[in-house]
Each structure stands twice: as structure tokens, then as C-alpha cells.
Subunit: 341 residues, 2 copies
DNA sequence: TTGTATGCGTTATCAC
DNA sequence: GTGATAACGCATACAA
């Protein structure tokens, strides 16, 4: 018997059944380790299945069982190492638990996010992990309305009762700025991220907390909004320098912003950390590699993904009504002091 | 009528049919824009569908049509910005063409790669994009044997007739090293990547090409193998320094390796580029941001993904026999000179 | 123009 | 233990 000629139809349970001389569902139960099937026939069926190189059709199985063993993942920016690492964590635990992931990239755009979520629903994913754009709550409400298990990652909505796994952004930022204060800095610039994200708002709040704790008055002129890209950090520093703002340290929304800031600072012939200290946030792996190595706040990014995936899997396990909200899990950030402060 | 109570069953064609007072397949053709359905009933059906917030079940559709509109993507290292950007390109064109992607991460391990591919086959993906670990050809052969359309990305097998989209690694490396030569360097260290990958082998070859073109004898002692991580670049430089190898420039397998090299060089109080020039490969976005900005070879990573996805989609369009191999597409690299050379 | 019947590959519910 | 039979939701060949 020639296995799979050109354009060969895929082998199904029916083929095995015919070959083994048993019924189609005996094959099914034999292969799925169900009871009530003699060891003899089970062995026979398994042998035939192996010989024919049988692979179960998960699409058919998904239709029948109303369960696809698939998780939807929609990320705000796949090209950003932060999200890529989160994705890595998600993928790993999903794979370990026998789930596949369908990945979508919203590129921080509400329309793409909405589109992605609708596609995932149509594809009957068992649950969705999402780093929301936060430009609108619509998408999340839609998911809740359709009773699709959902966990927010890295960002969350204060006014929406949806499970989430986040880093303690406020605390992390407080740590970072507190560190600067401890080093004797009082004129600390803050390069903020997109204010529509919970992470940006909370990190800004942490900055204020740290100032307040040190008795340093908060000055709105010391915070500059950026787009969270390194070019944003670069532009912000140039802007601050041009405006004649005096500062000896700069705390950044992210490492990327920090890299841009460092670049602008250096071009202005300022030494780091002697003239100006710089601290980032996220601790992407390049932060440790760059010269000077960037002080920052470590987020366990892979872990974030893993924890979120486990939480979602837990929700999927139980039925709709007993599916109590697991609430918000907050992972502790960690200050990492390197060379830039 | 209350749309979706708690634990509501999903609305199907049958529900629309009942509500609209027509048959189930009239609904199907009305919704799918098929001909032979009066405009009146089509309008009615669409109205009812909208009112019930109907979403087609793509799993059922996939089973019926033997086509899932899904692409499998298996990446060697999701956390690596290079692959993340490739993934971004793939995802974007897939989404544009109405396809979803199931993402798997092989982490450069043969066992995970094999596992991933088998899962994708079971899930009936219409085709697979893969950056092979190249530790074994087994996986690819398996795919060919099963007649699953497949395109290799960024790496390829010289002895296997499989479509691929790659960067011209040999030419890119030749460009990079040629640039170093032109700057007057003759003692050029080469930090090699994992030799089992086609990209590493070809880039090493490009290094030799450039030396030969300049009449500089190749010395095996000038090439040091690394694991392609920045720590590898760091260690390689330390090793070279300790061994007393003399060099005025170092060409690297990747930007990551270059970053590590720069770090080691600086710790040894060597100035860049005055004492030692460094050039990378890939042009990940951080290369431009870092101080000194890294000279490198640009690969159109997103484009790589887009082209590969389009090629795969083209293969999926045609039937198995008329599906001639589209061959190997080679994208031109581009030398980017910044501050490190 | 519309409805009926069948099947995609699988699992589950029943008889035997 | 095992085997018919139905059903998951949809699309299609065919009948009306």
C-alpha cells in the first residue's frame, strides 16, 4: 500500500475503520483512550493508524466538541520587543497545555483591534488574550457581551470589571524615580507615554508619588509627552534642551524612550550619568547590552504572558456562571540599576 | 427579543432561517452574496442576521470547504526582534488577504519545530511559513510528503527543492566587509553565527569573498563562532583580546552580536570606531538608536514576511499539480553606514 | 427563486 | 465490547 500518492486525500477515521475491519467509532474510542474497548482491538487500531500515518482533524473535532483548543491573542505592537516577549510567554504555556494561538496585531489601532476580535470570535477561539489599545472600550464590551473568556495583558481598564494581568506600573515608576531622588536629583524630567494607556497614566502617577515622598514639588513643565518610540524620547530631550529646562535626570516611560533620550543627550555633549542620569522602564534585553547599560525597571514580560495564559485557561475550564472573575493580578516590578544612573 | 442571555447559544444559520421564515440555505446564499436569490429575501435575511448579530462559524465553514483561511507560522525565536518583524509582515498581509495565522515558536529546537508542524497539519492550515531550525530537514520533508504548501523564510536548504524567501546573505556580508576594507582595514575579525543555518554559512562566505577581492589572505583564526546572542559577541571579543589577536575591525553575524562586541571593546577601553570599527547585520531598529549608532546591513524584514506570505498564498490558490515551485526569491540587502565604522 | 438532502470528520448517545 | 445513528454549522448538488 502506497501511503499518500500525489494529491492524496487525507486519511480519516473511516479509512482506519475499513482497514482494521471495525466500526468508525470504535476507532475513535480506541484512539482517544476511552474505556470499553478491548486491548486487542485497541492495539490493532493503533497499529493501523500508525501505519496510515493518521492525524486527527482538529477542525472537525472542534466543530463537534464546541471547543477548538485555540487561544486568540491580539497584541498592540508585535514589532516591539516588549510585546514580542509577552507573546513568547503566552505561546509557551499555550503549547504546553495543548493549545494553539491565533495571533493578531492591532498596531495600536482601534479599527484593527475590533476587526481582529471579530475574526477570533468567528474562529471559535476558546478565549482571548489582549493588550488593549485603550482607545475605546467597545471591543472589550463586545467580548463580554458575547461571553468570550478574556484576559487583559499589560494594560487594564479601571472602570471595567475584566480580568487582567499587569505589572505594578505605579510602584515601578515610584521605584525608578525614588532611586533618582536618592542619588540626589531634584530636577527630574519625565518623558511620558501615550496617556490613553493605563500603564502611562500609572507610571506618571508613580513619578508624582516619588516626588511627593521626597517633598519635591511637582511641576507640569517637567513632564513631556511622547509616542513611546525612541524618536519620541529623542525629540522630547531636544525640546527640553531648546526650552532651557534645567534637569539633572530623566525618567522615561520605556527603555525605547530612554534610548532616544540618551542619543539626544549625547549629541548635546552631555555625559551620562555624570551630567544627566537616565532611567528607563521595561528592561528589554538590549537595555543591558547598550553602552552605557540602561538602568531601568524590570518587568517579567514572559511571565506576564504565562500568568495571563494560565488565568485564561482557568476561566475556560469552568462554565459561564461559575466563572467568577479572577480579578486583577499584579506582578511586582524590580529596580535594575546599571550604568546610566 | 433579548439578544444573548447568560450562557446564550450562538446564533446560527438555522436561527436566522426560522426567524426570517426561509430555508437554511437560502440564508447561506443570501449572506454569501450568491446569485439566484431575490433582492427582497436577501434584504430580509441580512436584516435578520444583523439584528441577531450573526457571525459565521469559521470552523464549520472550514470543515465543509476543506479550507480554513489559516496560515501556520513557525518562527525560530519570537523574542528576537528580527523574527518578530518578519512575523509582523506575515501577519499584515495575511490579515489583508483574509487569512489568520496560527503562530508557533520553535525556539531553535528541532523537537519543538516538529511538534509545531504536526499540530499545524492537524489544524488543517492551508499552508505553512517557517524559519527552519535547520538542525534537520526531517520537518520539511514531512510537509512535502503531506503536500502541505510551504515557504521557507530567511533560511533555506541548498539541497532541498522548497520555495523560500531570503535575504542575499552572501552579498550583504560582502558589502559589509568590503566597506571595512575600503576604510583601510586589513585585520578584520569575523564573529560567526550558528553554522547550521544557511544565513551564517553564507555570511561567512561573503566575508571570505570580500577578503579575496581585496587580496587579503583568509585566516581561520580570525573567525570566532558565536551563538548569535549578544553575550556571544561579548565573549568572542574577550576571547580574541585575551588571545592577543590583532584586529582593527570586526564584522558580525548580527546586530545583537555587534552590540555585545561593542560592549566588550569599550570595557577594554577601545574606542569605536577610532580603535576598532564594528559592523553588524540585520539592521534591527535599535541599531540606529544606540550610541554609537551601529553600521550594519539592512534587511527588509517586514517585506521578507510579506513576500513570503504572498508567495504562499499564490501556491494555495492553485491545485497540487499545477503548483509549480515558485523557487527562491532573494531580497537585496543594503549597506547602512552609521557611526561604528 | 427557493427548499431538500447530503456530507465534511469527528464525538456522543444510544442500542445490541 | 461494539456498532449504528445523529449532530456540530455550514455549503453544495440537485430537485421542485
Amino acid at each position: 500500500m502506497q501511503p499518500s500518492k500525489a494529491g492524496a486525500r487525507r486519511v480519516t477515521l473511516r479509512d482506519i475503520a475499513r482497514e482494521a475491519g471495525v466500526s468508525i467509532n470504535t476507532v475513535s474510542r480506541a484512539l482517544n483512550g476511552k474505556p470499553d474497548v478491548s486491548e486487542a482491538t485497541r492495539a490493532l487500531v493503533q497499529a493501523v493508524a500508525a501505519q496510515l500515518d493518521y492525524r486527527p482533524n482538529q477542525v472537525a473535532r472542534g466543530l463537534r466538541q464546541q471547543k477548538t483548543a485555540t487561544l486568540g491573542v491580539v497584541l498592540a505592537d508585535l514589532a516591539n520587543p516588549f510585546f514580542a516577549e509577552v507573546a513568547e510567554g503566552i505561546e509557551r504555556t499555550a503549547a504546553t497545555e495543548g493549545y494553539s494561538i491565533i495571533l493578531a496585531n492591532s498596531e495600536e489601532r482601534q479599527s484593527r483591534e475590533q476587526q481582529a476580535v471579530e475574526t477570533l470570535v468567528e474562529r471559535q477561539v476558546d478565549g482571548i488574550l489582549i493588550t488593549p489599545t485603550q482607545r475605546s472600550e467597545e471591543t472589550i464590551r463586545y467580548l463580554m457581551h458575547r461571553h468570550v473568556p478574556c484576559v487583559l495583558v499589560a494594560r487594564y481598564f479601571e472602570n471595567l470589571d475584566v480580568p487582567a494581568v499587569v505589572n505594578d506600573d505605579r510602584e515601578g515608576s515610584r521605584l525608578a524615580v525614588g532611586h533618582l531622588v536618592q542619588r540626589g536629583h531634584r530636577d527630574i524630567l519625565y518623558l511620558n507615554g501615550p496617556p490613553y494607556t493605563s500603564s502611562a497614566r500609572l507610571r506618571l502617577q508613580g513619578y508624582r508619588d516619588a516626588l511627593e515622598a521626597a517633598g519635591i514639588p511637582f511641576r507640569p513643565s517637567m513632564v513631556i509627552n511622547t509616542d513611546a518610540r525612541s524618536s519620541g524620547g529623542y525629540a522630547a530631550i531636544q525640546q527640553a534642551l531648546a526650552a532651557g529646562i534645567e534637569f539633572t535626570a530623566v525618567a522615561c516611560f520605556s527603555d525605547y524612550v530612554g534610548f532616544g533620550a540618551i542619543r539626544a543627550l549625547r549629541q548635546a555633549k552631555l555625559r551620562i550619568p555624570e551630567d544627566v542620569a537616565v532611567i528607563g522602564y521595561d528592561d528589554i534585553d538590549l537595555a543591558a547590552i547598550v553602552e552605557p547599560a540602561l538602568s531601568t525597571v524590570h518587568i517579567a514580560k514572559t511571565r506576564l504572558g504565562q500568568v495571563a495564559a494560565h488565568m485564561l485557561l482557568g476561566m475556560i475550564g469552568r462554565s459561564a456562571q461559575e466563572r467568577r472573575h479572577p480579578g486583577i493580578t499584579v506582578l511586582p516590578p524590580q529596580l535594575v540599576i546599571r550604568e546610566s544612573t
